[in-house]
Each structure stands twice: as C-alpha cells, then as structure tokens.
C-alpha cells in the first residue's frame, strides 16, 4: 500500500476512534458501578443521533450546539431506566446477571420500536462541516475532526469528574468494593442511578457526534453497542487509558478494513475483533491477564 494512503487511512481511523472511545466510556461507567451489561447502549446512541439529525434539519441547530441538551436528555433517560427498570432486578447477584442482560435486551428493542415509530426507518445524518482541510497529502474531514475534538473534550471532562471530585470518588469506590463503600456511608443505590445517568448522557453525546460521521437508522443500535463492546474488550474493562487505546485501534482497523475490502467488510471488523479478543485475550489487550 502506498504510504500516503496508509497515513490517510490511519488519520481517518484515529479520528473515528474518538467517538468510539466516548461510546465505550459510557458503557464502562455503567458496568463498573452496576455490573450491568447495558445492551441498550447503542440504541441510546442511535436515538441521540436521530434527534440530532432531525433538529438540524428542522431548526438548523448543529450537533455541537446540541451537545449539552443531548447529554442532559440522555442522562435523564438513563436515570429513569435505572429507577424504573434495572433497580427492580432480583437482589440475588447470581441470577441478576442473566436477568439484567435479558432486561437490557428488552429495553434495547423497546427503544428500536419507539425510534421506528417516531423517526421511521430512514437513514439520517447531519450534513454539517462537509468540506476538508488539506494537510500536505492528507485530507482531514472537518466534521470528523470536530467530532473527534468534541469527543476528547467530553472524555476529558468525564475523567476529571471521576478522578478529582467527591462524586467521582464515590462512583469509583462503589465500583471497586460495594461493602466498603456502604460502610463509608456511600449510598449505593444513588451511585447506581448516577452511573446510569452519566453513562447514558455520555452515550447520547456520542450519538450527537455520530450523526456527523455516519448515517444511521433505528436498527443501527446493535452495531454501535457491539462497537462499544469491542473497544471495551480491547482495552480491558474498567481501564480508562485502555479504552482510549482500544478505540484508536478499532477506529484504524475499521478504516483500513473499509478501504481494503468494502464498507460491508469494514463493518465486520468490530465483530471479528470482538470475538477474537474474547477467545484469545479475554482480559483485553491492556487488561491484567486473568489469574
């Protein structure tokens, strides 16, 4: 392959990786605190992307301007889902895992049905910042670049929240040792609600950015869920740096796969990586190896 082409595909992939990382971080926050694998994550991303597309079309509000509203709406949806649905899981931790998976599956399908009713099955995206910058031999799509920068900014804000605030400390404590956190007077139920709100808010923000890169319809959710899972699988559960690196790897892989094969083959790559990592390196590329 021509080195300039390789460089172009790498840049494209890395830019994609920013949004992938954001999607995965939301999933990670929820799983960390609740141990619930939220299969409806991609559907929330898609719902947000569809909203962004319609709002842009109707009112001319750009996805970037819409980000705060997307985050808040996503956070509300997440909090409601936790309170209304996931909180009602049986307390038995062994049974809860399977039940929560099925429950999340049901929620995902509910959102798909809802989105189909509201947005129809049309593919939508936002035609915003459609031109590119030319940096020597490499062209950088403006929308991809802006989405990338916004994704990193949100990921950075999330990192600061988790690392340096009392709330973040409570969330981390709850995810690392429930009994220890309870003994400190940390309200686990509240932390679970907040983790769902935060994770879903971040997912919705990612959805807004997705609308600038991909055309999606209500059925695209499961692909995005799997994308987020692949990133988490690559980077290791609960690892912040791992998520960023996993997202970069996946973005580049998708970009190369899409060029070398076809768009369809590009879409297969996350599945292949997901399965391969689970089979050969279940703790993730950067994760501690299972003992």
């Amino acid at each position: 392959m021509h080195p300039e082409l390789a460089a172009q595909l790498t840049v494209d992939g890395l830019l994609l990786g920013g949004v992938f990382a954001l999607a995965a971080l939301g999933l990670n926050v929820i799983f960390g605190v609740t141990r619930i694998v939220n299969l409806a994550h991609g559907e929330i991303i898609v719902l947000a992307a569809l909203c962004a597309a319609v709002v842009f079309q109707r009112f001319g509000i750009t996805p970037i301007e819409l980000l705060p509203a997307e985050f808040i709406a996503g956070a509300l949806l997440g909090a409601i889902l936790e309170r209304l649905v996931f909180r009602r899981l049986p307390p038995d931790p062994a049974g809860a895992e399977t039940t929560s998976l099925l429950l999340a599956f049901g929620v995902a399908y509910f959102i798909v049905g809802f989105s189909l009713a509201v947005f129809t099955g049309d593919f939508r995206s936002v035609a915003y910042l459609t031109s590119s910058w030319q940096l020597g031999p490499i062209s950088v799509g403006q929308s991809r670049f802006v989405a990338f920068v916004a994704a990193l900014a949100i990921a950075g804000a999330l990192a600061v929240l988790l690392r340096s605030t009392a709330l973040g400390r409570g969330l981390r404590a709850a995810s690392q040792n429930v009994e220890g956190a309870r003994a400190c007077g940390i309200d686990i139920g509240r932390m679970r609600t907040i983790s769902f709100a935060l994770g879903s808010g971040v997912a919705a923000a990612a959805g807004g950015l997705v609308s600038m890169i991909y055309a999606v319809n209500p059925d695209s959710g499961s692909q995005l869920t799997l994308l987020a899972f692949s990133v988490v699988a690559l980077g290791g559960l609960g690892s912040y740096a791992g998520t960023l690196i996993g997202a970069a790897i996946l973005g580049v892989a998708v970009s190369f796969g899409g060029f070398l094969g076809s768009a369809q083959i590009g879409q297969l790559i996350p599945y292949v990586i997901f399965i391969a990592v689970l089979l050969f390196r279940p703790s993730g590329i950067l994760g501690k190896s299972a003992t």
Binding site: A166, R172, G180, G185
Partner: protein
Amino acid sequence: MRDLRVSYGEFAALQGVSLDVESGEIVAIVGANGAGKSTLLKAIAGLVPARAGTIAFDGRRCDGCSPRTLVERGIAMTLEGRQLFPEMTIEDNLLAGAEIRRGRGRAKANLAAIYDRLSVLRERRHQLAGTLSGGEQQMVAIGRSLMSEPALLLLDEPSLGLAPRIVGRIFEWVRDINRAGTTVVIVEQNIAASLALASRAYVLAEGRVVMAGIAADIARDEGVRVAYLGGAAP
C-alpha cells in the same frame, strides 16, 4: 441492643443477642469462627437488616436505618478483611470515609491527623491501596472509618493476618483513638490482645451471648477458653 436476631435466608446467624456498650468504653466480642461476631457488628452498622430486636444509640432507636444515616449519626465500621478500594490511592480511600456531611468540613484536618500518627501513609498517599502491605491496608481501613469522626467505632478483626509487631502498633492506635473519646467495639481472633485492650467482653457462640463480664476475668477463665474459643492458650 435488645434481643437482636439476624438471618441469612433460612440460617439464623444471631438468635437473640442483647448487649450494652457504655460511652467511652472498649468492648471486646470474642467467639469461634462462624459465631456471628461480624454479623453482630454489621447489624449495628446497618449493613445487614435485623429480623427482630432493637438497637439504640445515644438514646435513640437506630435499627432499620441505612448505613449512611448511621455513619452520619456517628457509627463507623472497619470491616473484616479491610475492604479497601484497591485501584484508588491511599488518600482517596481515606477521603471516601468523609463522603458524608459528618466530617466533610474537617476532612483536611482529619487527614493530617491520620498522617501525623502514621507517617508511612503520608509518604505513600498517592500509592494505590491494592499495592500496600496488609498492615498498611489495615491502617488505611481504620483511618477511613475515622474520617467521619465516629462516636462509636466498630472494628472487625483488625489483626487478621498481620505480624505481631504491626498488631501491637494497631492496638496502641486503637487505645489512643478510645482515649480521644471514641467508644470502641472490637471483634478479634487475637483473644488475649483484645481482652487486654477492652474493659468488658462478650463471648458469642452460635449466635448467642454465652458469657459477659470484665475482660480480665474472661481472659483468665480456662473454661470459657476451652468451651468457646477453641482452647488455644493465650
């Protein structure tokens, strides 16, 4: 505490336990493995629900309260096996103990007081708790409980798995915590040491109090040791 009963499913771990702790005391609770000692402390801290019975603290009923409410009211528990947050720094572990209103305003001062007492923790305050030795972890666990400025400190097996020298330091610290005004209830496998520390003691067996009295008397009582504490000489 009056006639407290706690069950895990069908299994009755506490079958009517009554005990009194006076303000300012150190009370030891001893008993064989599985006697229900941890369950007793957890019930006081609100970490397991009581099926029956009452608990009062400072003259007010406190059974049925959430752990959070109880920490706010001044009951803190250091759990068996430390239960730290392994991927958080020492300092974040300690600060997690001041997440509630009680003690939050004085978190800095309380942190400094803990570091002054245990300089090894100050040196390593940015180190992850999971990488500490057992003794250091126990110090962090007790320090975390102190961050909420408890009036009543519940200690579950602080000497578990530690070298005698470290145990000595920790017990010395507990005595000083008590002298500074905190009431202490301590559960221990290290019976001789905890009975030496405590003024009074309760012996627990199969979810019941089988003996109560002055710690020194129980320590001397050969019959108790043989019957309930596994017979090991102190």
